[in-house]
């Protein structure tokens, strides 16, 4: 059992995957010599050499396009996009090429590639370095989207993403890069598409992912003082998402709140609420509540940013609302 940071867990997963499979290569801006802007890939170039770890110039479109071509040959490129916001520069390669190649070419080839990108605010990075755009990618058939919340899950899901024969958008929490957690010596494994129930409860279900998981757990603790017993599900995967675990929980609690840092409108919460409404309307004792960011760009100033992402209080308020 080792205590290590979220960012070191990612580096560990990359290194272990590269040890296990010579086809795994890394491509990204400053990930080699400089060890990555957040230090995630530190040491990997020294260990694996310049034919496994490729430093790219600031060319997101060419990097991801090249990863598509490399994956067509059975290589397993893992591309780092420095901030999720910069994925906009590679959208053709992601959406038109990577997502469609397997389908569009009649299944001739799979496209085993991972595109890592950190999302989220909380570090004063402003409107173009803080966005949570995972719903965009979850809307595109052919892509998988995962968003792990802690050390064990970020390790396990990155290994699963690299082993997956499809393009996976791997969303990291940049505000949690330094957060410590335990990585068991027996390395954890995970399946893309499986959620984790982190806290059992009878009265209401909170479905969440990413950095909002910690806030949902804190809200559940606070609510327990008032005798409200909340189940907290860490979705982990957004596309595909674990419908069974969520429906099963709702069939017991009959109340659902979906919370995430991304913009509430047209978001992941909207999809989950609609799905549960369609599939389990009779199980619900209250309308499904969504808790997400307001419909505005992520503001810079700390005084605004602290109220932007849903915190413990807003999640608790939503649970009380469905309990009315």
């Amino acid at each position: 059992m080792a205590m290590l940071s979220y960012s070191r867990a990612i580096g560990q997963a990359l290194g272990d995957a590269m040890d296990a499979d010579p086809d795994v290569i890394l491509i990204g801006e400053d990930i080699g010599e400089a060890g990555g802007p957040f230090g995630v890939t530190r040491g990997l170039r020294d260990k694996f050499g310049e034919m496994r770890v490729f430093d790219a110039p600031i060319s997101e479109a060419a990097m991801v396009g090249a990863a598509v071509g490399a994956a067509m040959h059975g290589l397993k490129p893992v591309v780092e996009i420095m901030f999720m916001d910069f994925a906009t520069l590679a959208m053709d390669a992601i959406v038109n090429q990577a997502a469609k190649a397997h389908f569009m070419f009649g299944g001739q080839r799979s496209l085993p590639m991972v595109i890592r990108m950190p999302h989220g605010g909380g570090i004063g990075a402003g409107p173009q370095h803080s966005q949570c755009l995972e719903a965009w990618f979850a809307h595109v058939p052919g892509l998988k989207v995962v968003c792990p919340s802690d050390v064990a899950s970020v390790y396990a899901l990155l290994r699963a993403a690299i082993d997956d024969p499809n393009p996976v958008i791997f969303v990291e929490q940049k505000a949690r890069y330094a957060a410590k957690g335990e990585l068991p010596d027996e390395r954890p494994v995970a399946r893309i598409g499986e959620a984790r129930t982190l806290r059992g409860g009878r009265d209401a279900t909170v479905v969440t992912y990413g950095s909002t998981v910690e806030r949902a757990l804190a809200a559940a603790d606070a609510l327990s003082v008032d005798g409200i017993d909340v189940e907290v599900i860490d979705l982990q995967s957004i596309q595909p998402w674990d419908t069974r675990t969520v429906l099963d929980s709702v069939s017991r609690t009959h109340r659902l709140v979906v919370a995430h840092e991304a913009t509430q409108a047209f978001g992941v919460g909207a999809e989950i609420a609609a799905y549960v409404g369609e599939q389990a309307f009779d199980e619900l004792d209250a309308p499904v509540m969504r808790v997400g960011a307001p419909f505005m760009p992520v503001p810079f100033s700390k005084s605004m940013e602290q109220d932007f992402a849903p915190g413990q209080q807003r999640i608790a308020d939503a649970v009380r609302k469905v309990m009315e």
Binding site: G65, A67, G69
Partner: protein
């Protein structure tokens, strides 16, 4: 000849409604496809563009499966899911035509990277049109290819038209100068003379095989509109690219006759191609229509897929 007759046939089948969707023909540009592909080996890879029929057939794609794909049928190379703009045959190193201008260019970078990592002597050739020169990813790709010393050949098929306006109104630089900016070897050739293209390609492919990127510009002509059905009101008749002295097939025939190839041999080739195209048309017509249920199960690859 195979490309010419295939596209003429597809044009007629499109006009009578049998071929659906968009059709971007490369009539007048056949010598580029034939000449460049003659210099590539089986393990070399290419990525093509929306005007990619010629590249596909010249790389060796099965004409039956090619026609079936353009008809949108089950026996198509892509099971009818891609169509004219997405024909691909990975087993031939043909990494796909592409509906997005310039998108195949960085895909070739990755293919060339794979060749380099695996230390084989193959190269990757990116086929793009003059219009693609305005796309930023081409400039990114020239830079990355040079930085990583990738065995990639950038082939610009300059037919003088980028969609509906002449290249001169869309591109403010010369490709030769752009190549020089990135330190890439550059060669320009008459893209309507298949022998000239083949010779230039063979030479520049060796440069790439030695481990460096290079640029080949082929000056050619777009006989048809941007797509089939394009009325081309923007174009005056004098410049329709169909003049006999610029027709790549006429040029090739003249050259072959000068080499002593007899008319009977040429007539034999023509007859054989006609038979192939007719058979491919029948094959496509008789192939089943694919179902959406099958396609739905093909969005994601399952574990253990190739």
């Amino acid at each position: 000849m195979r490309i010419r007759r295939s596209e003429e046939t597809l044009s007629a089948l499109f006009a009578n409604g049998e071929v659906p969707g968009f059709l971007h023909l490369s009539l007048g540009q056949e010598a580029v496809a034939a000449g460049v592909m003659s210099a590539l080996s089986e393990t070399d890879t290419i990525a093509s563009n929306h005007r990619g029929h010629g590249h596909s057939l010249a790389k060796g794609m099965s004409i039956d499966a090619f026609f079936a794909e353009i008809f949108g049928r089950e026996d198509g190379l892509c099971k009818g899911r891609g169509g004219s703009m997405h024909v691909a045959d990975m087993s031939l190193g043909m990494l796909g035509a592409n509906g997005i201008v310039a998108a195949g260019v960085p895909i070739c970078l990755g293919s060339a990277l794979a060749h380099r990592i695996r230390r084989n002597s193959a190269i990757s050739a990116a086929m793009f049109g003059d219009g693609a020169m305005a796309e930023g990813v081409v400039h990114e790709s020239f830079n990355l290819a040079r930085l990583w010393e990738l065995p990639v050949l950038f082939v610009c098929e300059n037919n003088g038209w980028a969609e509906f306006r002449p290249t001169s109104k869309q591109i403010a630089f010369r490709l030769e100068d752009l190549a020089a900016t990135f330190g890439l070897p550059y060669r320009c050739v008459d893209g309507n003379d298949v022998f000239a293209v083949a010779e230039a390609s063979a030479a520049i492919v060796e440069t790439c095989r030695a481990g460096q990127p290079a640029v080949l510009e082929c000056m050619t002509t777009r006989v048809r509109g941007h797509y089939e059905g394009d009325s081309q009101r923007y174009r005056d008749g004098a410049d329709d690219g169909a003049a006999d002295d610029r027709d790549p097939l006429a040029i090739a025939e003249r050259a072959l006759r000068e080499l002593g190839v007899e008319d009977a041999v040429l007539a034999g080739v023509r007859a054989e191609v006609d038979r192939e195209v007719a058979a491919a048309t029948d094959f496509a017509r008789n192939s089943a229509h694919p179902s959406i249920a099958d396609a739905l199960s093909g969005v994601y690859a399952s574990a253990g897929a190739a």
